[in-house]
């Protein structure tokens, strides 16, 4: 029994203490990168390059393969290691790989010496790479909104941005001209005939070193576009209690009359109701008359069908307000009927470059 309990505790401790597989991989990645950086600091460039190449291996990923976020840093150290090993061509290849992955990346001049950053700049100027940023899933109102496309270039060159069908048929040209560091262009959702574009399209960004020059790189992004009409809103419905009665109902008038007459009758009957043998004063007839008269006056002033000016005025204002609500709903619906919504979902960028070929 004691032995079983010991095994159980050991297993539990192993579960609690042992890191997960993902945690182990991360530790291994950091350890490899840290070892490489340590070797670089110790001027052991051979070791550093070997460790970094192992960490950057993507075709056969292993536990020490670096995640994307750490790759630019590792590539820079790899290029610097190659550079100091005397393999400047190899360093240039690594820099080009770095630029393709992230055209906006620049080595930190406080970490890397000028000869390394100069080699990077040389490679960057030679590279004509564009990174294309588009919303992955968005909707635009045709005629009012624009679909934004942001371009980041590695160096100054010429780009042509356009749309085509997957089979290559031209849809619309968006931009043709130079790009420096970055460029914002946009698409209005229409094709070249001003018809809302619908279906599968391909956004192409073609890079050339010079106007009319040789195509060096094309980025293609699949766009799934769907046009829809916005729903119209229902008209406001009048509330049952919106309008007040404009003519007096019969209830209050009859209530006043009956109350007055009943009160008068009650005055007449009160002495006999209170006690027998009473000799009530005749003065009570004044109250009988006053109550009867007031009841009749109340009936006349509230007689059924008499116009109620206060209610009429309130109803005029309420009708006008309700009519304004309807007009607003009409205008809104008119806008909605003419407004076409285009939903655009972008796919993953596909890069075709001379270097890949």
């Amino acid at each position: 029994m004691t032995g079983r309990r010991g095994l159980l505790w050991a297993a539990l401790a192993a579960v609690v203490v042992a890191p997960s597989g993902r945690g182990l991989a991360a530790q291994e990645q950091n350890r490899t990168l840290n070892s490489a950086l340590q070797a670089y600091q110790n001027l052991e460039y051979e070791t550093a390059a070997a460790l970094l190449r192992r960490a950057l291996a993507v075709e056969a990923p292993s536990a020490d393969t670096l995640p994307t976020a750490l790759r630019p840093k590792a590539l820079t150290y790899l290029a610097a290691s190659d550079y100091y090993r005397g393999r400047k061509d190899s360093a240039a290849v690594v820099f080009r790989r770095l630029i393709v992955q992230d055209p906006r990346y620049r080595p930190d001049p406080l970490i890397f010496p000028p000869e390394v950053t100069a080699a990077f700049e040389t490679a960057r100027r030679a590279m004509k790479v564009v990174e294309v940023i588009t919303p992955s899933d968005t909707s635009i109102r045709l005629g009012r909104d624009q679909y934004p496309i942001r371009l980041y270039a590695s160096s100054f060159h010429e780009v042509v941005v356009g749309l085509e069908r997957p089979d290559g048929r031209f849809i619309k040209g968006i931009y043709a001209g130079p790009i420096g560091d970055s460029l914002d262009v946009s698409w209005d959702g229409f094709d070249s005939t001003s018809t809302p574009a619908d279906g599968n399209l391909v956004l192409t960004v073609t890079s050339r070193p010079t106007p009319g020059g040789e195509v060096v790189r094309v980025v293609r992004i699949m766009l799934d576009t769907r046009t829809t009409h916005a729903d119209t809103l229902p008209w406001p419905t009048p509330s049952d209690t919106l309008l007040l009665p404009e003519r007096a109902p019969s209830g209050p008038a009859l209530r006043s009359l009956s109350s007055g007459l009943l009160g008068a009758a009650a005055v007449l009957l009160l002495p006999s109701a209170v006690g027998s043998g009473t000799h009530p004063a005749g003065a009570r007839y004044a109250v009988v008359g006053a109550l009867s008269l007031a009841g009749i006056v109340g009936f006349v002033t509230q007689r059924p069908g008499v116009p109620l000016p206060d209610n009429v005025a309130k109803n005029v204002a309420r009708r006008a307000a309700f009519q304004r609500q309807i007009e607003l709903a009409k205008q809104d619906n008119a806008r909605r009927r003419t407004g076409v919504l285009e939903r655009i979902r972008a796919g993953v960028p596909l890069v075709i470059s001379r270097e890949n070929q």
């Binding site: 009160g263 006690g275 009530p280 006056v297």
Partner: protein, 215 residues
């Protein structure tokens, strides 16, 4: 005594409940009035009739649904028939009110009356429980009211013991919204029996008054 305590408890319990529900709103009104009063005491088989004017007023102050109604009147009555001599009359009341709804009020409290003649003073102290309803006859102009009460107990310094008593009052109040004061006209009657009917005192009156309400 038990009846009084019961009445006070009856009023106190719902009053605390309603005061918690209703907004604290102070309301007061004061009325000055004169009444033509007719007294008709019947002692045994002997009947007398007296009449005269009494003047006075009453005031009411209310906080939310709970109010206090105080009144005082005095005057002289002249004998019209029978052996009853001329007498001075003084009346007063102090009623605690509770209005569960705006058109109905229930009230209870003492009502005192003293008849003074050359032969002495006859004092009546009655405990009254009354209900009052109000109904507009002409909107924002004329309001009718009706009160009915019964005398729960009475203490009179005469030989006959108290038997029963009840009364009522009806009238109207003219209070156009543009007027600062209101006018009232009402008729009321009360009968109290003593000694199992060996003495019956009936008092009825026609009242005309003017008053002011404020909040």
């Amino acid at each position: 005594m038990n009846t009084r305590l019961g009445l006070i408890a009856l009023l106190a319990l719902p009053a605390t409940h309603l005061a918690a529900q209703s907004p604290s709103r102070l309301h007061f009104e004061i009325q000055l009035d004169g009444s033509e009063l007719y007294a008709n005491p019947i002692i045994g088989s002997v009947s007398s009739t007296l009449s005269g004017m009494v003047f006075g007023g009453e005031g009411r102050v209310a906080l939310g649904p709970v109010g206090l109604d105080l009144g005082y009147w005095q005057g002289s009555l002249s004998s019209q028939s029978g052996p009853q001599p001329n007498e001075d009359v003084v009346e007063g009341k102090a009623l605690l009110e509770l209005a569960p709804v705006h058109w109905f009020t229930i009230a209870a409290g003492p009502f005192a009356r003293a008849y003074t003649t050359s032969g002495g003073t006859e004092r009546w102290l009655s405990w009254r429980v009354q209900g009052r309803v109000e109904q507009p006859l002409v909107p924002e102009t004329v309001q009718a009211y009706a009160e009915l009460w019964f005398v729960a107990s009475s203490n009179v310094n005469v030989v006959q013991p108290f038997t029963s008593g009840r009364g009522g009052r009806l009238g109207l109040r003219l209070e156009p919204s543009s007027w600062p004061v209101w006018l009232t006209l009402g008729y009321g009657i009360e009968q109290i029996r003593l000694g199992s009917g060996s003495r019956i005192d009936t008092v009825d009156r026609l009242t005309f008054g003017a008053g002011y309400s404020g909040r």
